[in-house]
């Protein structure tokens, strides 16, 4: 089997997903080639052929041009599988390739099982095993699902691609995340509030528990989207990555994007009314309870 791996670069830097792509190819025992719209000064540690287009010419974010470049290489390499990271770059580009190639698309693969692909469904409460019915298919990989155990090595054999910037979308550059008012990444204790707190007034009890434990409070995304607290408190892929000694998740279901930000915590306590909540997968202890009852009692006992 032959696979074409599509690496990602942002703001001139190669992203770490490149290593996960090549590890995935190894998992399949497949021959691979890689394509990158990036820069010669930031090449992946990869031992195969690397098709490289200069992001300064092609545009770092320019789906129509990237699609065209990939289709050229697909015609040359004839892969059965095209693999991208399931990232804001990958999930934007993959369906464009699938339509152009009449290919099946399978999103957010977490595992390969007997030649078929496993993907999460319903906030990871269920998993489906899927097979493409087309000769060529496009897949995206969940971040972290195919992390190699060892640092990748190798020097690519670079083949340059020409690219002219055109396309139907204009890219006007990046806007950095708001400067963080609170640096949760250094906190030793974090108590986080999820949508399960129900209303903004209940954030106070989360803050009180954080204070009683001598820590900071954090939040899942819906709490930030609803503007109950500021973005610098958000834990997860589009917020902060934390690794405290104790992480208390109150009313947080445990979506993959939240877990990605807190799974390095040393000890995880989850408080949730749903015994099957996916947070249970990473929690050392899951207390099945209404946080509105349990959190104030915990705070009171700690303050005594």
């Amino acid at each position: 089997m032959k696979v074409l791996l599509i690496a990602e670069s942002r703001d001139g830097k190669l992203l770490g997903s490149a290593a996960e792509l090549s590890h995935f190819a190894q998992t399949l025992n497949a021959d691979s080639a890689m394509l990158l719209v990036g820069s010669e000064s930031a090449l992946p540690a990869y031992g195969g052929t690397l098709y490289l287009a200069d992001a300064a010419l092609a545009g770092e974010f320019n789906p129509a041009v990237h699609k065209q470049l990939i289709l050229e290489v697909v015609a040359k390499e004839q892969p059965q599988l095209i693999v991208l990271p399931h990232s804001s770059y990958g999930w934007d580009l993959a369906p464009r390739l699938a339509v152009a190639l009449n290919a099946a698309q399978i999103s957010e693969v977490v595992e390969v099982k007997d030649g078929a692909l496993v993907v999460p469904t319903c906030n990871a409460k269920l998993r489906r095993t899927i097979k493409p019915t087309t000769e060529i298919s496009v897949v995206t990989l969940q971040a972290g699902a195919f992390t190699p155990s060892a640092e990748p090595s190798g020097t690519p054999n670079v083949v340059k691609l020409d690219a002219a910037p055109n396309g139907d979308i204009q890219f006007h550059g990046y806007e950095a995340a708001e400067a963080t008012a609170v640096d949760l990444s250094k906190a030793e204790i974090i108590v986080s509030a999820g949508r399960g707190i129900g209303k903004p007034e209940n954030l106070a009890m989360i803050e009180a528990l954080a204070k009683a434990l001598g820590g900071e409070f954090g939040a899942s995304r819906p709490v930030v989207d609803a503007e109950w607290t500021e973005h610098s408190r958000q834990v997860g892929t589009t917020g902060q990555t934390v690794s405290p000694k104790l992480y208390v998740a109150c009313g947080i279901s445990g979506a993959i994007q939240h877990l990605a930000g807190m799974k390095k915590s040393e000890f995880v306590l989850a408080i949730n009314t749903d015994k099957d909540a996916p947070i249970g997968e990473v929690a050392d202890v899951l207390a099945v309870a209404d946080l509105k009852q349990l959190v104030p009692i915990l705070t009171e006992k700690l303050s005594r």
Partner: protein
């Protein structure tokens, strides 16, 4: 302007899911249904654009069984003008490409200036349908938007990237945009608007009339993930639970020292 917003009805994710008798999808019995969260942002943005421009006709489209009409009524109560229900009891067996083909076949001769979809659905989570519809119709597509503005025929948006960085993008209409969580604050339908929505047009079209493409993937099985975590699960009275938890924190962590 002619606007289209595509929505999906999904189960509440706090539900207890059971696999159906085929073993390929979840059992739809005993579930509470709601509008896919991402689509609430799409509907809200479309309604805001209609309010901004005044002269707009906003259609909401949903594929599924009779049951999905309930969710469509919410979109009508939020401000959509008319509903198109693509009647399909089999929609859960269609993969994202087959679903996208239905939408594209419906939309191709309607002259929509702007199509809104959610970034992804909460159940399948594929993030494919919106982009595929755009590709099938030959429209530019801006995905993962957390900011949206429309001026002189051009859509200006910010795409959300990992780590909270944003990418600034724009494109000319006709176009399609996919909406990410937090794009706006979806409104709650008011009672008068819920009453008004009951009188709005809700047209049903059998899916077969729109000649859907075949799915390109085959589901072999569905199952809950194997429990790897193996963490301790505690249940009981809150006061007792609190005692137990403090004991555990004292023994297993250094934070209470």
């Amino acid at each position: 302007m002619k606007l289209l917003v595509c929505i999906k009805q999904v189960p509440d994710m706090e539900s207890k899911f059971k696999v159906n008798s085929e073993g390929l999808w979840y059992d739809s019995a005993d579930l509470a249904w709601r509008m896919n969260e991402y689509d609430e942002y799409a509907v809200e943005q479309a309604v805001q654009l209609k309010e901004q421009l005044g002269d707009c006709d906003l259609t909401v489209l949903c594929i599924g069984s009779e049951r999905v009409k309930e969710t469509m009524k919410k979109a009508l109560a939020m401000g959509c003008d008319r509903g198109v229900h693509i009647a399909d009891d089999d929609s859960h067996r269609k993969d994202p490409f087959a679903i996208a083909s239905l939408i594209a076949n419906f939309a191709k001769d309607k002259g929509f200036d702007l199509i809104f979809t959610g970034l992804q659905s909460q159940d399948r989570g594929s993030a494919q349908v919106g982009v595929m519809v755009a590709e099938l119709l030959g429209l530019p597509c801006l995905t993962t938007l957390v900011e949206f503005a429309f001026e002189n025929g051009t859509v200006h948006g910010k795409r959300e990237l990992e780590g909270g960085t944003k990418g600034k993008v724009s494109c000319a209409t006709p176009a399609l945009v996919t909406c990410q969580l937090g794009l706006n604050t979806p409104r709650y339908p008011t009672l008068p608007n819920i009453m008004k929505a009951k009188k709005k047009e809700l047209l049903s079209i059998p899916a077969a009339d729109l000649s859907p493409a075949d799915s390109r993937t085959q589901t072999l099985s569905m199952a809950p993930p194997e429990k790897k975590g193996g963490g301790l699960i505690l249940e009981g009275e809150p006061a007792e639970l609190a005692e137990q938890l403090l004991q555990i924190l004292k023994e297993k962590t250094t934070v209470l020292a």
